[in-house]
């Protein structure tokens, strides 16, 4: 028990040593445990995230949509768990390419950050950082092809396991880069087919994403899907084909039926028209006939009347002649007659009285007869006059009647004529209508027939639908995340081992020193009869106590703080939940066992070594190590020039080889870490400068509201405020490298000569590059990843998975993202047409936002991408990288100070006698310090130099590891960083020396020299 009490007293007496031991163990275990665990923590965190929100294992998209039958056959697969059909479409919302999903309850759920889930069809969930609760989202009206409504209210703000990366992949709308995503209720969709089907594999939830057993589990389903794919493609093809053919047949039937009906109708119409014409002709005939008859009648009538008139006139002439013969006028006739008659009657009466034979009589008789003849003649005249009068009267009546009749006939003829003229006009109109209708009809028929023919041709050319099978690795950022996590692992493979190594070396050194210092005490205990085991146990107790405290501290920091810092750096470009920390009991146990094991082994070996000696020996100080001439002494002219203190320094340096190694490792390690820390900052800093200062000189890219083949004058006018502009097409594509699909921006410029105003394309030697019409200028990292050189070709794919092959005509310096620059002519050659969707601009710095807003307000542009936004994004990365740098700097500082302090104190304690002797000899404090420092100083300088070399390598390693697919780091370290590193290390050294100066000062000559009296 006394031995343990002794241990406690030792701790009190040598707090510095005890704490440095604790520190060393804590540092080593913290870094080792922390960095090692971070990668598992990261993967565990995302795996839980994926599982919590039921991330799909596979997604199937078909070029012709998916049907209920597809879903049914998928459900029948052996290794499938969930089969969930769903809908989605892409559209532009406020200038952002947006993918809108029907929200599915049982797969790819979202984490609601704010608000609530969907309840009504007019509600929408949006991505975090885009809109606020209660905002109204209005979609373009063309989405009504897919959904019922265009207006939605934001009720929830969400994260989605489908979109864990800042970069959301490519889109079919806008500039080809998906900007955001939203969810609405699936019942909103009006599509007849599903746009996609999500699947999970059986048992995949219990497997950890990215790991082999996950891959194995889903690969069973993958095999089945690959097998099913052609079957369903064919089925869908046939289904569509049959449907199309049925439609064509129906159309043909309908056409024929229509044709028949319409032909009949037209024939009837035509017959009617013909009939009308015939009738009309008949009408004309009748009319002409009537007209002729009337004319004839008129002629004959007029002749009759004329004849009658002339007869009457003849009669009248006769009459007048007769009258003339009688010498009377006609008017006198009746009275004449009366007179004559009365003469007759008087004559007769006379005669009757006279003998008939009498001459008288005779005379009278003759008279009578003459009289009578006159009477009868007169009477005849009278009669004739009556007849004549009568005849004239009749004639006149006849003529009047005729005139009346004639007029009536004529009128009726005229009206018939009018009717006929009207009829003719009507007929003509009818014919014209008929002709027009018929022509239209024929055209329609032809059209319909053409349509059917087209449809037939289309059906004949109908391409088989293609199923695209997407797995989790196709989710943007899914693989990148794993790469990040494994990068942490590769860092974990280097740094912590270094720390642990230094920790062990330091621990060993400390314990060796301690035990050697106390050899007298050990001898005493042995001579007092304490067993070896007990003595060793007392040291082990000391070591275990220090190690335990160190481990508790180290593991706590290691598991709870280090992963968070590293995670922050790596997920700065991801949207992920907070890191789930995990205290790895197994690893802790292993670390503890290793630490305890190594420490106790060191202690045991060192302590045990002392037991070889007899107690009496132990009670005396250890014989000084034999001095040895060093190689340098052979070089006489050099050696002669050295002062004694330098000679001692040189000799001492080579005497304690273990210490040289330790110091060099410690100092060079810390230097390397420091330099790496600064180097990381340099790399990122120069990346910013080079990419956004030297290469990309433009201020903003404005995306046109719609793609166009020709940028209109009014748009150009709207650009009059900017300094320079260049019209281009900028689209997203992907290329495949290292089994990953990586985004690439294709820029095709209208005017390649103006490109240098916006982007300085330079080759590796800094020579300017110009774009030609025969290939693209490819960014350097892209060329590197694709392993293509000038003159070679490579393939890119658009969002429809179409492949385009491009030729490389130049490789340009570039550090961020992947670009291919080309002329519009080459673009046309590759894609078949020229088109523009963006304008690259430079502006005065103080006007950028004003001009930008004006241009967006002008309505010609849908969105703008400022270069400052990209810079800010990188500033975020830098900020998070700074945390790692601070972590490294912090750890290195601790390590450096601990190592230096430890080494110097050991150095001093080992040589107390020597130092005391120097003091007795009259060396001043400064001279004594210099005597001791000089060694440390030389070692420190060598250590720093070696460390600089190591640092360059380490920096290169770290930057290579930290590099993402989109970023190429400049791996140069600035001269200033070397200087800083040197100064900091020197500062540490000076600080430590300052501390040791006082330790040295305190060394008591008398005590030190009499210790073995």
């Amino acid at each position: 028990m006394l031995l343990f009490k002794n241990s406690f007293i030792k701790i009190q007496k040598s707090l510095g040593r005890f704490f440095s031991l604790i520190f060393i163990v804590a540092l080593g275990s913290a870094f080792f445990a922390g960095v090692r665990e971070t990668s598992s923590d990261m993967i565990r965190t995302v795996d839980n995230y994926y599982d919590t929100y039921s991330l799909m294992d596979y997604r199937i998209v078909s070029t012709m949509g998916l049907t209920e039958d597809d879903v049914l056959s998928l459900k029948k697969l052996l290794h499938v768990d969930k089969v969930v059909p769903g809908y989605s479409f892409e559209t532009v919302v406020n200038g952002d390419a947006t993918k809108i999903y029907g929200y599915l309850d049982d797969i790819n759920q979202v984490a609601i950050i704010e608000g609530r889930e969907l309840q009504n069809e007019n509600e929408i969930l949006v991505e975090r950082g885009t809109y606020a609760l209660g905002d109204t989202i209005t979609l373009e009206s063309d989405v009504l092809d897919f959904v019922k409504s265009t207006t939605y209210t934001v009720v929830g703000i969400v994260d989605s396991p489908m979109y864990i990366y800042e970069n959301k992949g490519i889109s079919t709308v806008s500039d080809g880069k998906l900007d955001t995503f939203m969810y609405i209720l699936p019942s909103n969709f009006t599509l007849e087919y599903y746009t996609e089907v999500y699947l999970t594999a059986k048992d995949s939830v219990s497997k950890t994403a990215y790991q082999d057993d996950y891959k194995e589990t889903v690969s069973c389903l993958n095999d089945e899907l690959v097998e099913l794919k052609p079957i369903r493609e064919t089925a869908r093809y046939e289904e569509i084909l049959a449907q199309a053919m049925q439609e064509i047949y129906d159309a043909e039937d309908e056409l024929n039926k229509q044709k028949q009906e319409n032909d009949q109708k037209f024939a009837d119409a035509k017959a009617e028209l013909d009939n009308s014409e015939a009738l009309l002709n008949q009408g004309w005939a009748d009319y002409n006939n009537g007209k002729a008859i009337l004319e004839n009648t008129r002629v004959s009538m007029e002749k009759t009347f004329a004849d009658t008139r002339s007869e009457l006139e003849a009669g009248e002439a006769n009459l007048n002649a007769s009258l003339a013969s009688y010498g009377i006028s006609i008017e006198e006739v009746p009275s004449m007659i009366e007179t004559l008659k009365s003469q007759v009657s008087s004559l007769e009466a006379l005669l009757a009285t006279l003998d008939p034979e009498s001459a008288e009589y005779q005379a009278y008789s003759v008279q009578l007869q003459t009289l009578q003849t006159s009477v009868s003649g007169l009477e005849q005249i009278n009669e004739a006059k009556a007849t004549l009068d009568n005849g004239r009267k009749e004639l006149e009546e006849g003529e009047a009647t005729w005139t009346r009749e004639y007029n009536a006939s004529l009128a009726s003829l005229n009206s018939a004529y009018q009717e006929l003229i009207d009829g003719e006009a009507e007929l003509d109109a009818g014919r014209a209508t008929y002709d027009a209708n018929y022509a239209t009809y024929l055209a329609e028929i032809q059209d319909a027939e053409q349509q059917i023919a087209d449809a037939r041709a289309e059906v004949a050319n109908l391409e088989k639908p293609v199923w695209y099978l997407f797995e989790r690795e196709d989710i943007p950022g899914y693989t990148t995340f794993y790469d990040s996590a494994t990068k942490v692992d590769s860092i974990a493979a280097v740094f912590p081992i270094f720390f642990i190594l230094v920790a062990f070396l330091m621990g060993m050194n400390t314990m060796t020193r301690m035990i050697e210092e106390e050899r007298g005490e050990i001898g005493l205990f042995i001579s007092l009869g304490y067993s070896k085991a007990k003595i060793i146990a007392s040291y082990l107790f000391y070591v275990f106590l220090a190690t335990s405290i160190g481990l508790v501290l180290g593991l706590t920091v290691g598991y709870l703080i280090v992963p968070i810092i590293i995670y922050r750096v790596y997920v700065s470009m991801f949207v992920l939940p907070d890191l789930e920390l995990y205290f790895n009991v197994l690893m802790s146990t292993i670390i503890a066992i290793v630490c305890f094991g190594a420490m106790s082994l060191v202690t045991y070996i060192t302590a045990n070594r002392n037991f070889k000696y007899m107690p009496a020996n132990l009670l005396r100080p250890e014989a000084p190590k034999m001095g040895k001439k060093v190689l340098l002494e052979k070089i006489h002219f050099l050696w002669k020039r050295l002062s004694f203190t330098w000679k001692v320094t040189v000799r001492n340096l080579f005497r304690y080889k273990k210490r040289i190694v330790m110091t060099l490792i410690g100092i060079s390690g810390c230097t390397a870490l420091l330099l790496t820390g600064f180097g990381i900052q340099d790399s990122i800093g120069s990346l910013m400068d080079k990419q956004f200062g030297e290469i990309e000189a433009y201020d903003a890219i404005f995306f046109l509201d719609e793609e166009t083949n020709e940028v209109g004058e009014e748009i150009l006018v709207s650009l009059n405020e900017v300094n320079q502009y260049g019209i281009l097409s900028m689209e997203s594509f992907t290329f495949n490298a290292n089994n990953k699909n990586i985004d690439l921006y294709l820029m095709a410029f209208q005017d390649v000569n103006s490109v240098d105003n916006f982007i300085h394309l330079k080759d590796e030697q800094g020579n300017p590059l110009t774009i030609d019409d025969y290939g693209v200028i490819l960014s350097s990292k892209t060329a590197d990843m694709l392993n293509v050189h000038v003159g070679e070709t490579f393939g890119i794919r658009n969002s429809e998975n179409e492949l385009f092959v491009l030729k490389v005509s130049g490789i340009s310096e570039n550090y961020v993202n992947h670009y291919a620059y080309m002329s519009e002519n080459y673009y046309e050659q590759i894609f078949g047409e020229k088109k523009y969707n963006a304008v690259m601009t430079t502006m005065d710095d103080d006007k950028i936002s004003t001009i930008g807003n004006d241009l967006i307000d002008s309505g010609y542009f849908s969105s703008v991408q400022y270069i400052t936004d990209s810079m800010n994004m990188f500033q975020d990365i830098i900020r998070s990288m700074n945390d790692i740098v601070l972590l490294i700097l912090g750890f290195s500082t601790f390590l450096a100070i601990t190592v230096l302090y430890n080494l110097t104190t050991i150095n001093i304690s080992e040589r107390t006698r020597e130092i005391a002797t120097l003091k007795v000899l009259g060396f001043h404090d400064k001279e004594v310090s210099a005597y001791v420092y000089r060694e440390t100083l030389v070692l420190t300088i060598f250590g720093i130099l070696i460390g600089m070399g190591l640092g360059v390598l380490l920096n290169q390693f770290v930057m290579t590891v930290a590099e993402t697919d989109e970023i190429l780091f400049v791996k140069d370290i600035y001269g200033l960083s070397y200087l800083y590193t040197f100064l900091i290390m020197t500062l540490f050294t000076v600080v430590v020396q300052f501390i040791t100066y006082f330790i040295l000062k305190k060394i008591n000559m008398i005590d030190s020299l009499k210790s073995v009296e």
Binding site: M626, G627, F644, N652, T917, K919, L921, G922, I1006, E1013
Partner: protein, 233 residues
């Protein structure tokens, strides 16, 4: 005026609550060129006296005048200079720097002095001219002690202080060392103080100061000290 005058010298150590009186009220004088042996049993306080005389420790009270200067009033720096220029030390365990050769050990001391002797000459003087290139570990105890003496002498000090110079040596070698010291003292008129618990050694001294329980018990002046070789061991 004597070369060294120690007046009413006291030294107490405070160990927690216990006060230990190492020496109390000691007074003596030493003339230049004298060989003085300070004799006393272990713990009598003789080393304390030596330490104070050598400028390695300061008295609690009293004065120590060496060559006209009161070193008890010296500050740290003055004491260091005093050690550096005026004092040569010889220790029981030699305290050589193991990593330096015999010659270098000597030079280590002489290089910081104002008027050092030639290191090699001094080594030759102590009889180690042929071993100057050896490291301490390659030398015997006596040889090491001779190197140690040479180191002290090379500084050309005013005062040579030897703390049990033969304590770790066998008697034969011890005598050789003592002879060397006596010779040096006489030939070079070097004031030498030897501390020992061995009464026999005191026969070689011009003056013997006996110390017991931190106080001077007796001061013995020997007009005709024995030569070391004549001392009967």
């Amino acid at each position: 005026m004597p070369f060294i005058e120690v007046k009413k010298l006291s030294k107490t150590y405070q160990m927690g609550e216990v006060t230990i009186k190492a020496v109390e009220n000691i007074s003596f004088t030493i003339e230049e060129g004298e060989l003085v042996v300070v004799l006393g049993p272990s713990g009598a306080g003789k080393t304390t006296v030596l330490n104070i005389l050598g400028g390695m420790d300061t008295p609690t009270s009293g004065s120590v005048i060496v060559d006209g200067k009161d070193i008890s009033k010296f500050n740290r720096k003055a004491l260091t200079n005093y050690r550096r220029y005026d004092i040569g030390f010889v220790f029981q365990f030699y305290n050589l720097v193991g990593n330096l050769t015999a010659l270098e050990n000597v030079s280590l001391a002489s290089q910081i002095c104002k008027h050092p002797k030639d290191s090699l000459e001094t080594l030759k003087q102590v009889g180690l001219g042929d071993r100057s290139g050896h490291f301490p570990a390659q030398l015997s105890g006596g040889e090491q002690q001779r190197v140690s003496i040479a180191r002290a002498l090379a500084k050309n000090p005013k005062l040579l202080l030897c703390d049990e110079p033969t304590g770790a040596l066998d008697s034969k070698t011890g005598r050789m060392i003592l002879e060397l010291l006596q010779d040096t003292c006489h030939k070079e008129h070097m004031t030498t103080i030897i501390i020992t618990h061995n009464a026999v050694i005191s026969e070689m001294a011009d003056k013997v100061i006996k110390i017991k329980n931190g106080m001077v018990a007796d001061i013995l002046i020997q007009k005709n000290p024995k030569l070391v070789k004549d001392i009967d061991w």
